[in-house]
Symmetry: C2
């Protein structure tokens, strides 16, 4: 049996069609257009590509987008002042600062400064506390996209055993909490986990988020599992996931590809969060 491919590209396209309608509805009923502000410091080429993609995605669904590209010499004080200005602006409902920052700038200080109500990346302490405590808040985009992909398979999450490999603040930890909130039994694994293949082979739902190309081989996969591959590593110029696709596809029931799986969902969830923020807090 070969697994069904769960296309994040297709799911994203469907969701973005609905978001387009939501933008129109906000305009019609509330008289304004949801807007996302992005601050980009320095000249990291990958970051410029990501930010351009975000801007394009906003415009495609009819949202406003404003990108501030700052030189890499920008000081923390200048960055802080700009964050404060966007926190106060009524026409921008989401605000994100693209990471990584140049080394002299503090990511922690940035995250402590962004208004939790505009934190569409869901990375402020306030929003991660809300997530853990089960309170309303903005949820980190990639973890949110992972849950949507799982749900798109039709497989019920409640009561299933989900195993998450990787415990980053960006993916592993929030995705574990989200799966718990969906009533899965959740096991959190990482570099110190013993017998990792055996632990993973118990998973009805396996989420790989470690960033090591093709680390998850066929013996990690329980037959019939849902496998979500969050990792992206570049190997010889080719984008590879954390999962050895050729092996996993023969055992899983559902599997996301890399590219075209989790990746497209992240920006889609960013758009959704911005519209949510506009509706909730404007």
């Amino acid at each position: 049996m070969s697994a069904q491919i769960v296309s994040g590209k297709e799911l994203s396209a469907k969701i973005r069609e609905k978001l387009k309608e939501r933008v129109k509805k906000v305009e019609r009923e509330k008289g304004f257009t949801p807007g996302l502000a992005v601050i980009l410091v320095g000249d990291d080429p990958a970051s410029h590509v990501y930010v351009n993609n975000k801007e394009k995605a906003c415009l495609e669904i009819g949202m406003k987008s404003e990108v501030r590209r700052l030189p890499k010499e920008t000081t923390q004080e200048e960055l802080n002042a700009l964050i404060d200005a966007y926190n106060a602006r009524e026409d921008m409902h989401g605000l994100l600062v693209q990471f990584p920052l140049p080394a002299h700038l503090s990511q922690e200080e940035v995250l402590a400064r962004i208004s939790p109500k505009k934190d569409v990346d869901g990375l402020t302490v306030q929003n991660s506390g809300a997530l853990l405590s089960g309170l309303p808040g903005l949820v980190s985009c990639t973890p949110k996209g992972v849950i949507r992909l799982i749900k798109s398979t039709g497989v019920e999450i409640a009561g299933k055993h989900a195993v998450v490999i990787g415990r980053s603040n960006l993916v592993g930890k929030p995705v574990s909490v989200l799966l718990l909130n969906e009533n899965a039994t959740v096991t959190m694994c990482h570099s110190k986990t013993k017998n990792l293949p055996e632990v993973c082979a118990q998973a009805d739902i396996l989420v790989a988020a470690i960033g090591r190309a093709e680390f998850v081989t066929g013996n990690f996969i329980k037959p019939g599992a849902v496998v979500i591959d969050v990792g992206t590593s570049r190997v010889d110029g080719k984008l590879k996931g954390d999962v050895k696709f050729d092996e996993a596809v023969e055992k899983a029931a559902y599997i996301t590809p890399v590219p075209g799986g989790v990746g497209p969902m992240t920006i889609t969830m960013l758009l959704e969060n911005t519209i949510d923020a506009a509706e909730m807090f404007h």
Copy 2:
């Protein structure tokens, strides 16, 4: 083989001796005495007992304690004003509002109002976000006590499989994150978990925090495990834990009793948090 009993009473006594020294050191070096303020609304008899115990424990180690007992008719506005006053007071370094509150008062509003720097119960969104994100903050007392009890056995947590039953904001979720931070592989179980005994029987470290008397029977226990029993239920006037002690003690290597296990650690961690808050933020 019969398990070694892990006495929270004895461990608490040892820790409190050290805290007594820390209080003296703060007085000597910084010229003030750490102080804990407790607000108690209404006449719930159990709450009055808890609050009296907290006050007594503060005084015993040389700390200051101030308890405000308010009538059950107290309004949210009055309670909020009192919280604001304690947030501003320089001689009180910890502040907690005893739960449960009378039904007309909002626990959520209280937790949003207490300064995270004085939140010695570790229950504000700010502190639970810090916990999940791995940032410094004040950690909830019972989960912190659970980790100390495990460490007191000398069993290494890193690389072990820990299973937590129960996912409350007060215990299950924070204890899972703390165990993850200690490099355990952590499985979070709850009422929707299938094959619970089998899942638990994989645990090198088992934490039961569900509040169902003697729910965890011998077949849940891996031989040689560390078993921490957080539950307390009153059955026919007797205090019972979540673990069927007589069965578990024959399989575990270490086990906490009820009473005298986790219970005494909670107040001890409250004292420690108050001294930490005094040292960090005064």
